[in-house]
């Protein structure tokens, strides 16, 4: 078994049902998403049916079953952001990245996720890219921000 996975399991010595969601959180934090193999391992460790775990994991928006992009974009779509035009920003992001919310683009560079509220309503509309906030967005600034990230990526590649 994967050593990192094993060390996550060791954090939950009691093997109880209520360890399930925290454990899935830890796995996703570590690996970026929940793979089938990991879910099966969790099932046999906690002695919970894999079908049940899949049912739990799919209930919550937080869990992903495919890898994220190098840059994970989270668009806030709370009430304040909606009023400030988050729908237009989302449309622009989808147009620019050619992916829908919840998807990762083919090159694996960007993935897009709509979240209900980040809680920085005063700065709406905003996106968060890998813990970096970009606030008070407009259609134009989205383009510029994405281009910056693409450039950063190319620089990484050149180095």
């Amino acid at each position: 078994m994967d050593k990192q996975l094993l060390s996550i399991f060791e954090m939950f010595p009691n093997r109880q049902r209520d360890d399930l969601i925290p454990m899935l959180h830890k796995i996703q934090d570590q690996f970026g998403f929940l793979s089938e193999d990991f879910i099966i391992e969790v099932g046999s460790y906690l002695d919970i049916s894999v079908n049940k775990i899949f049912g739990v994991a799919t209930f919550y928006d937080n869990f992903r079953f495919g890898p994220r992009g190098k840059y994970h974009i989270r668009l806030c779509h709370g009430t304040a952001c909606h009023v400030a035009g988050a729908t237009t920003i989302l449309a622009e992001l989808e147009k620019q990245l050619k992916i829908k919310s919840g998807e990762t683009d083919k090159s694996g560079l960007f993935s897009l996720e709509v979240v209900s509220c980040i809680g920085a309503c005063g700065l709406a509309p905003l996106i968060e890219i890998n813990d970096e906030y970009h606030t008070s967005l407009s259609v134009e600034s989205v383009k510029i921000i994405l281009d910056q990230y693409r450039e950063n990526h190319n620089n990484d590649y050149d180095e």
Binding site: P22, V56, G119, G122
Partner: protein
Amino acid sequence: MNNDHSQVKKFLTDKILRNRDRDKDPDLMRQLSQISGERISEPMIYVGTTSCALAAGAKKTFKAIEKYIHDNQLNVRLIEGGCTGNCKAEPLVDVQLPGKARISFHNVLHEMVPDFLDEILNNSLPEKMVLAQYHSDIHQLWEGVPFVHELPFNTGQTKILTANCGVTDPVSVAQYIARGGYQAFADTIAKYTPADVCDIVEKSELAGRGGGAFIAGKKWKISLNAVSDQKYFVCNAVESDPGSYMNRVIMESDPHKLIEALLIAAYAIGASKAFIFTRSEFSLSIKRLNAALKEAEEYGITGHNIFDSGVNIDIVVKEGARAFVCGEETALNNSIEGKRAMPSFKPPFPAIRGLWNKPTIVNNLETLINVPLIMKNGPEWFRGIGNETSKGTKLFSLSGKVNNYGTIEVEMGTSFRYIVENIGGGIKDNSEFKAIILGINSGSYITDKTLDIKVDFNELKQAGSQLGSGACVVVGQESCMLDLARFFTTFFKNESCGKCIPCREGTALMLEIIEAATRKPSKENSFQTLERFKGIMQLKGLAGVMKDTSLCSLGKSAPNAILNTLANFKSEFDAHVFERKCPAGVCRELRTYHIDVDMCTGCTACYKKCPVDAIIGAARQPHFVVQDKCIACNACFEACKFNAVIID
């Protein structure tokens, strides 16, 4: 602080927490003010680094200050702090120089840091950045600088619950105790029985802030009187209503307040285990809560046999995994148990059969943090705040089209007009007030007709609204209410747990009805036209059944947004349905595009951009939009350099 850590700990536990006569010794107070950071011997810089501040760039500011201190080898205390609620001023930096009053600076961006610190650390004021100073009797005040409590944003507020927010080091248990914290808890377990605590809280008339406005003390008594070997207390800090973030601010800025409240509450019902259930996105809240819990445990405030009283209380922070329905108490319990967060039927209520079928009280965070204050100052004091029918204060997350935004705390009985016009500083961007949205979960609006309504459970109920989650989003005339209703209904459709038929199917059907009203007219066939009218006619009946039969409050309140739009903004509704126009111009599919023949130069820019060949016309001839083909993508409008494209 000159004393080392263990001495401070010994002093605070023995001389303060375990000492019932602490208030009689003035010398103790002096010592406390040193621990609390009011009296300092070295300069202190305090950077608000809560989530909203981080979004505004506080992390970079903090790093820049850290670097400055390091580069100049200064002896300065730098603190990652909480939030005063004044989001507009972020990143906010407080500086306290020995002997001088603490002073706040607004919008300190990282590139400004070196110049800013050069000035202030040399006792001169960077005037453009000054926000306000804190009043002090023991320190020298800055000349010509307004006081914090005199700021227009703050004057109308009653800061009881948020008193510590943005002032103390959030994680430090020593500072919290030095500012009067954990004393209420220490006294409570020494002086009162659990039944006494329930009585006192009931007498204070503290009502649940989660929506039901149930008297907290009454609820607690149900669990207290239930016979069981194990009971649980759960703090509901899920706060998944978009637009509300007061709980987050409390957890990030004053986590010990919540811990103390939960300890008293758990003691009151005889629970030895308590949970704080919050969202996984609130990573900073979780980090600070866990850090604070660790410090509290070190002081022997939580855990086994607290202060030798025989009381055992463990507190565990539980992360949700993003599902709005977790705000419902039975769903929340299921989520803690590691299941799909689908609500269970009531009765039996969780107070009798909750987590793992044991008596469990679930209280909202905001309700809970009132408890230490009530225990400290007495129920009469609490009843003195607020008005006849609603007691205490209420937190709001004020955002939207107002000049000042952030977390605010107002006395019950304050009018919404006062909140918008005075605290919020009026409507920004030359817009006009249209409505306040009081959280998605209530689906209530305050309109210009009801703006004088007070923050009061009864008054709001009579007006057909609810206090809701505490979100307070102000919208101006440029917003379309039908668009908002659609946004809310989409939210409910996505967040419905899927268990009961009325909520699962009803929300989806309601959304389809609304979408039919905002769909492009030219794409509609006669059958769909009929469907659109039929849908609107069925809307009320559908909403009625959903309210009547849904399993939990999510389904019961899902139709509110639409019903309230119908009640308050009928003309806007009618314009969409009958005239097929969006008065605010928000609903894109109802826009029509025309080309002004006189303005058009025939440059073919729009013709080339149109993705669906809806524009016809030859070069140097005026162009024309074929309405049937147009998908209202706005490409032609963006392409036209001559303002010839007109949106209707």
